[in-house]
């Protein structure tokens, strides 16, 4: 059979049916356009939670920070983080959800070291969530990146894809000296060998604050919910609050001309901002 006959036969089939050739071509051309529009709409809405909701964020003023590490200590105690020993420290296996990171910058006078406390950046478009094969990490409606410990398989893909190195893997069963073990925070689950964990902006404190506000029959007010790092900072360098609320201190500070976000060019939309040293 020649090609001509075949195509004639095909077009007659198309004409007889409910869809003709013109309609078919139109649909075929339109389908990818609609698909792309839908995809764009989906990716746009994926950036951050819906409007009106709270969006928790943080501003860290590097001019005020003295790198005293009290945020690191407060975070470790609040969140039942492993004690660690010298061997684990040498292998880079001690887990600290917030750490004081040294950043070397070159200027006209030479190298200058600056120190910055680094919690999880709580990205609005987190690279760690996309790559998780079991949906063990997720963005909650108020913008906190969560981790489901019982679901995590410990593949460390999210840890690898985080550009801030803010996710941590339990290489071993975490251990504490006896008195510390007895003083653990009952609001925070103790993690175990082989899973990934991360800073959750002291999510348990948000739960507590919400419960308290509900009991007192009022809305959550600014200052009701502050993570351990911010509340322990002696120089008040860490400011925390709802960045969707234009009146909050954190949203005012994040509009400062000194404000910048780490690796902003990657498009991860972090909710932690820094105020440049002056």
């Amino acid at each position: 059979m020649s090609m001509d006959n075949q195509s004639q036969e095909k077009s007659s089939i198309l004409n007889k049916g409910c869809i003709n050739r013109k309609g078919f071509l139109k649909a075929a051309l339109l389908a990818p356009v609609l698909f792309v529009r839908k995809l764009r709409a989906a990716t746009d809405s994926a950036l951050g939670p819906e409007k009106g909701a709270r969006r928790w964020g943080m501003v860290i003023d590097l001019d005020r920070c003295t790198a005293c590490q009290s945020c690191v200590v407060a975070c470790s105690v609040e969140n039942n983080q492993m004690m660690g020993n010298p061997h684990e420290a040498a292998m880079g296996r001690v887990i600290r959800w917030i750490r004081v990171q040294s950043v070397e910058k070159k200027n006209a006078e030479g190298y200058r070291q600056s120190l910055a406390p680094m919690p999880c950046m709580q990205c609005d478009d987190p690279p760690c969530i996309k790559v998780c094969p079991t949906s063990a990490t997720f963005l909650d409606p108020e913008g906190i990146v969560g981790q489901v410990y019982p679901r995590c398989i410990g593949c460390r893909y999210c840890v690898n894809s985080c550009p801030y190195t803010s996710k941590f893997f339990n290489w071993d069963t975490p251990s504490w000296p006896k008195p510390m073990e007895e003083g653990q925070n009952p609001d925070v689950s103790v993690r175990y060998k082989g899973i990934v964990e991360k800073c959750l902006f002291c999510h348990q404190r948000l739960q507590r604050a919400k419960e308290k506000a509900a009991f007192e029959k009022r809305e959550l007010a600014e200052g009701d919910y502050i993570p351990a790092c911010a509340s322990s900072c002696p120089t008040r360098a860490i400011v925390f609050g709802d960045i969707n609320d234009p009146r909050s201190e954190v949203s005012k500070l994040s509009q400062s001309p000194r404000a910048y976000r780490l690796l902003e060019e990657l498009g991860t939309e972090p909710k932690v901002s820094y105020l440049r040293e002056e």
């Binding site: 296996r93 790559v131 460390r156 894809s161 550009p163 893997f169 290489w171």
Partner: protein
């Protein structure tokens, strides 16, 4: 070409001789040396399993990993074994599709290598997991945007399809075993041949259906070969990590795996030819075709490597350059330059020059390519881990546990391959006879 036809005709004339040469090793009782080799490999494999058991008890702290190098030798081994598995599918599927006659004596061996290496590739990932007992979570709570899930889908399909492919190509030869193997074979093996040959008698209808299935499977497998290794590359390419985030990584992985597959095939084919005395069927002409194919892929690999390095270097993004410098003149110089030496320089010299056209040289270049490809995967996985965006003091050197598991898995693969050689015919008899008929 004429030489191939000549040798094929010779094979045709001695058709019975071919069958005898293939079937004799299956009948003969293995010598003490063979048993000793198998036992030694089994012992190394058991030591590897023991090391894994220790790691299960201790957690991944038994490895040399930490912040910021989160992936190490296990992931390197995973890509390495997937690369080995590409020997079979690549060679036999592509060459069957283009009807290259020189494929015939290689296909069975190549498919055997595929089948025996995939289990070790898949288990490498499980060894690397922090919670291996939760492996099924990938299926219970699938997250479809994850390249690891794509990998799980691809590799599962690949295992199933290549097993089917190996088996389909085996059916006529299983029937041969059923009909020809005498008293030297134990009764359970006779039963095995009888049941698995699916009452093949070699009628015209059977041959037609067989040919059709083989063609369809070849085409499907060719697509799978490309998708599997592209996806393994995607696991790295889809992240925004410096050194990993490049579009070339998918095709680069495909070419690398193809090259490694041919390398391992060359190495093992030379050994098998010497061991089973297959010089009549696996001739110098066949080896020469394999040599040319390997040389072409070596050049392709060199091209891809050059393209990747030049693009990174010209773009000069600081984070990317940090990774590149750590490979060229930093702490990872040994794996980078080792990779260039063993994957490109040595095989190119060994394969390109006429005076070096010896079977032992082909085996040597196969070994060199495999060593180089392991280093290549190391220089992709580890330096990017050691140089994240945010500066970290990190170092990584594989621990004893990791080396033992690596050795164990290589030994396990060779052991399984040797066991396969004891049960299944080493040459695709029907295909060699067919190609002789064609010419």
């Amino acid at each position: 070409m004429s030489q191939i036809m000549e040798t094929s005709r010779a094979a045709d004339l001695s058709g019975n001789k071919l069958e005898e040469a293939v079937l004799r090793p299956l009948e003969k009782k293995p010598t003490r040396g063979q048993d000793a080799l198998l036992l030694a490999l089994a012992l190394i494999f058991l030591i590897g399993l023991g090391a894994w058991a220790r790691q299960l008890a201790w957690g991944l702290s038994a490895t040399g990993l930490g912040v910021p190098v989160f992936w190490g030798v296990y992931i390197v081994n995973f890509i390495f074994f997937i690369g080995i598995s590409h020997a079979g599918t690549l060679l036999s599927a592509i060459l069957r599709i283009v009807k290259a006659q020189w494929r015939a004596p290689f296909t069975r061996l190549a498919e055997m290598i595929t089948i025996t290496s995939i289990p070790f590739a898949a288990t490498c990932v499980i060894v690397d997991m922090g919670r291996p007992e939760r492996f099924l979570n990938v299926l219970l709570y699938p997250h479809f945007t994850s390249p690891i899930l794509w990998d799980v889908c691809c590799i599962t399909t690949y295992i199933i399809m290549s097993s089917l492919y190996f088996y389909t190509a085996l059916i006529p030869d299983l029937a041969l075993c059923r009909d020809r193997l005498g008293s030297g074979v134990s009764p359970w093996r006779k039963d095995f041949y009888r049941i698995s040959s699916l009452e093949w008698t070699g009628t015209e209808t059977q041959k037609r259906v067989h040919h059709l299935i083989m063609t369809v499977l070849s085409i499907v497998l060719l697509a799978l070969v490309i998708s599997v290794h592209t996806n393994v590359g995607f696991v790295f390419g889809m992240t925004i990590k410096p050194g990993w985030h490049t579009a070339v990584i998918g095709p680069y992985f495909v070419i690398g795996a193809a090259l490694q597959g041919l390398g391992v095939l060359g190495l093992i084919a030379i050994f098998v030819r010497w061991f089973f005395r297959l010089h009549t069927w696996l001739t110098e002409t066949h080896l020469d075709s394999l040599r040319q194919f390997t040389l072409a892929l070596t050049c392709f690999w060199g091209y891809f490597t050059g393209v990747e390095i030049l693009t990174t270097f010209y773009g000069h993004a600081p984070a990317e350059m940090q990774v590149l410098w750590s490979k060229i003149s930093g702490p990872f110089w040994w794996c980078f330059w080792g990779m260039i030496l063993f994957c490109f320089v040595i095989p190119f010299v060994l394969l390109a020059f006429k005076p070096l056209r010896l079977s032992s040289v082909l085996a040597l270049s196969g070994f060199s390519i495999n060593l180089g490809m392991w280093l290549e995967r190391y220089s992709i996985v580890v330096p990017s881990g050691a140089n994240p965006f945010v500066s970290f003091v990190g170092r990584y050197w594989p621990s004893l546990t990791e080396w033992l598991i690596t050795a164990g898995w290589v030994a396990g693969f060779l052991m399984l391959l040797l066991l396969f050689m004891r049960i299944f015919p080493i040459l695709t008899v029907w295909e060699i006879e067919e190609s002789a008929e064609h010419s």
